[in-house]
Symmetry: D2
Subunit: 314 residues, 4 copies
């Protein structure tokens, strides 16, 4: 069997990779995302694929994109950032690259990558939780990707954690990603600085008191240096993370929960409180086999690797 | 193809039915559940199956039982009421009936029955929510039953709805079934009577003030007569029901949500507020295709019909 | 005893009234609030007082202003809208009117007015809850105004109703005024319209779908015409209102809770669900004497009447 | 001025003390509470008072009792434990001791003691929070005890902290004392042990796994030895404590919050997280003068000292 190409269309860049059947990237390209124009994005993808095709025996192309994808894996029904509505992305790219193309939700593609070749390679049932600015995710059940009736399963960031809770961009209140995400970490850090908490002085000093400059990475680095408040702030995110995973475990019963995304780079500062909260929040914990929480292992490549593999007819 | 037998082992009775390939019950039996002894339960099931076998060309037996079932569908890992631990139920029954036997979680069996021949027969992705004393459920994705890594997926009643909420028998706080169930309906009704709310007089009168006698059915009947408090109490349950379904829809994206169980007999008194709350609580509602909420259609037979069909190798 | 003058400095206008010893307004004036300049505001107040002084035997002046007032009732420590910090308002006005002047928080002044001559005139212990854009309030205990150690008691709108709840302008989350206020009513109405709930069509039609134009008054008028969603939206505000009052009642044990402010104009549409929720949410309701919930009776005049009376040495 | 006697009627013992005008105990007695019979309790109090009267020039007697006390300070309207209803306790004791007697709610008496001679002696506005099995409290405003319209102000333990939260003995859900009390500490400890959390092994070992034997004192002692889980459990109670105090501060604006009761013996293990949570949870923290959180200083004597002082006509 030949190789396939995986594409991950992000808000700022498009990653393209030639991936073999065991998930190894053997060549790759990266281009800037051309504004939000659908035609230009299709052309940029095609150009990159065509270049890689010259040196590799590419059989098919898998494309991961943010948004809702139709069940036939050909059309982007709606994309929040790129303003696509019913965009026939597979048709558009196929016409330019002369290869079969399938479209997949980007979080699902990443989940599939981790499942096939990463943190879930040894199991049949896995949940990927990507903790970045928000929370993304994907669900694998019995070796299959759960896409849902309309291709939008796995929107786990919008699990309601708090009735009448913090307003979310999705129109609801109390969504999980308002509590267990980089956005939450930054918001809580700013609040502590704004409240003139003494413990917040070191974090405030990093940005000369300009809370708009605080980033999640700053908090992580500060925590790694031993700053007690930074450690507590990341632990709070971890606690919410573990509580949400416990509630999802009752619904989908995975054997592995892989945790990826930028915030996961905090490592044990996040994972230890997440695991403690997970165990503490499990329903009927004594009788129920427990999922293992693991860090995801493919990093940013999970999307292209998963998309490439999904192009192999799955 | 011949017929199969479906068995539903409940706390007080065992239902057994011969079911054909289109889900029609062509013969049935019902016996009292013999205490909590595993051997006797196996024998009672076998006796009933053997009797039905005489008149029908039975190919296989599917057994639905409360509790956690192993991935191979042969062993009950743990059953909360019957005190089974690692009970080899399939082996035990096979030895007595000389037919292939598969075991399934009872809520999953009911979900499968509704999916194949009931409220979800026209779709590929369905969620069954059974609102009885507690909440049970089952998930169908892409035409397959989601059993989870350990056979315990679909424990949707233990979705956490309220952080630090009402204590649940599962050891956690704030589980969905503490808010959207018959138990919740009875509890809230009792609270109103205990609080000497004037509106609660008619309900109190039904039991001569003895709140221990209140049942969910009483409240439903009172609501059907137009009692404003009873209507409000059922609507509250409906509201919690709809809010929980909306959060699950973000995770599993079904096209149909079937609502069954004893409380669902309240009909529109429950369904109308449930639907309103569901629509109000959807994440990104404008862009997301919405699941249809329907009443389940097989009633108490869903379990035996589903179990019988699952015995056909699925 | 002669008359006193009461002043209510609002964001857009300054109300000034000559009030006799039984709370009757015998003359009044109203001027535009001159921007946010402290000097000009003091001068505007003085000019109006001096004009009224010509025809009336004025003994003292009481001034109600938004913000934190010092215990000596002379200085505005901080005002959120007018940007006053340590503003010596009493000194400034006394120098211009040649009368003794006392300053009071405006919500406290209104509470005092209702207590002395309005909804609480027959009791010694009263809570005023003003439901306008936000929630304001004042507490009377044993015939005395509870001003707190720093003049900022009675900030009841910032009672936390929901942990991790909706963000409040005060920097916290889940404050009562995010749930039981005109702002909440407008927000929830907009959400329903944005969610394309069918029931929201009549409300949407009022503003041609431009949700930025929705006002609380519109929702009230629509409810008074029988619109089911508008009725429900006001009832939701009423429910939160009653629940918050019940929690306050456990702390301060009033005999009367007077409910005023613009949203209270919805009358029974608000009061009936508020009372029901209040009764349902009381701690130990059977043994505890219950406060009476009443509509406030002085309307917008409560502030000037209370401020005038507080100028009589209390 | 002569001395007065303070009495504190507890569930198991009655404390009686002769107290001088600066709050010093100059003689005391302690007797077992005679069952729940009102007559016998009155006689036991009188006997003890009469004995002390022989050696001291006693002017009056103040009696603190659990329950609701009438505004005239003579009758216990309702006592939860002793089953008093409309008990004329002052009359009963006066007839036996020939001295003026006043009755006061016991938590109010303790608050008054701390206010006059303990943690609040230097301020005019104080809140006492007693963290024992539950939460009790008392409020002093402007140098006066806030008794409420029906003598039941200060029931701060029943502030609702979590909508639909943990069931409370008072009939409501989510009361503060379900989260920030000795009862909560014990419950959470038991939950950790029941959940077989590894960190809970040392605590479980203390009681040979019999969770019914866990006490708050055990957890405190274990925390003082450095047990990480015990420290975390007390910190959780502290966090809820601080959050509740912040919400009360918005309503009553004290300058000192004194924290007493058995759980407060954990010292900084409780106070440090309580203070951090308090500061983090204040409304408009930058502009609002902040209350000081202090440990109460009179211990178990606060009740008798306060009751004795209240007998001096206040």
């Amino acid at each position: 069997m030949g190789v396939t190409v995986g594409v991950d269309i992000g808000g700022t860049k498009i990653a393209v990779a030639v991936v073999d059947e065991v998930g190894t990237i053997i060549a790759q390209d990266r281009v800037k995302t051309p504004a939000t124009d659908a035609t230009q994005i299709g052309e940029a993808v095609a150009q990159s694929v065509n270049a890689l095709k010259k040196d590799h025996d590419v059989e098919a192309v898998g494309v991961g994109a943010a948004g809702f994808v139709d069940a036939g894996r050909r059309t982007v029904l709606f994309a929040p950032n790129i303003k696509w509505v019913d965009e026939p992305l597979a048709d558009r790219i196929e016409a330019l690259v002369d290869l079969p193309v399938v479209i997949e939700n980007d979080a699902n593609a990443a989940a599939w990558g981790e499942f096939r070749f990463g943190a879930g390679a040894d199991v049949d049932d896995m949940l990927l939780v990507t903790v970045g600015t928000g929370i993304g995710g994907g669900i694998i059940q019995g070796g299959r990707l759960d896409r849902g009736a309309y291709g939008v399963a796995g929107e786990i960031g919008h699990l309601r954690m708090v009735p009448a809770g913090i307003r979310c961009g999705c129109g609801q209140y109390g969504c999980w990603e308002q509590y267990a995400s980089g956005r939450a970490l930054v918001r809580e850090t700013r609040d502590r600085i704004d409240a003139h908490i003494e413990q917040a002085q070191p974090l405030a000093a990093l940005v000369d008191g300009d809370v708009s400059q605080i980033t999640g990475q700053m908090v992580t680095e500060q925590a790694q240096k031993g700053d007690p408040l930074a450690i507590e702030l990341i632990a709070d995110v971890g606690r919410w993370l573990g509580e949400g995973i416990a509630t999802l475990a009752a619904v989908i019963d995975p054997s592995v929960v892989a945790i990826g995304g930028g915030v996961a780079k905090a490592g044990d500062l996040l994972m230890a409180p997440a695991k403690a909260a997970f165990l503490r929040s499990l329903s009927a914990p004594v009788y129920r086999p427990q999922a293992m929480l693991r860090e995801a292992s493919l990093g940013n490549d999970a999307g292209v690797i998963g998309a490439a593999d999904l192009a192999r007819t799955r």
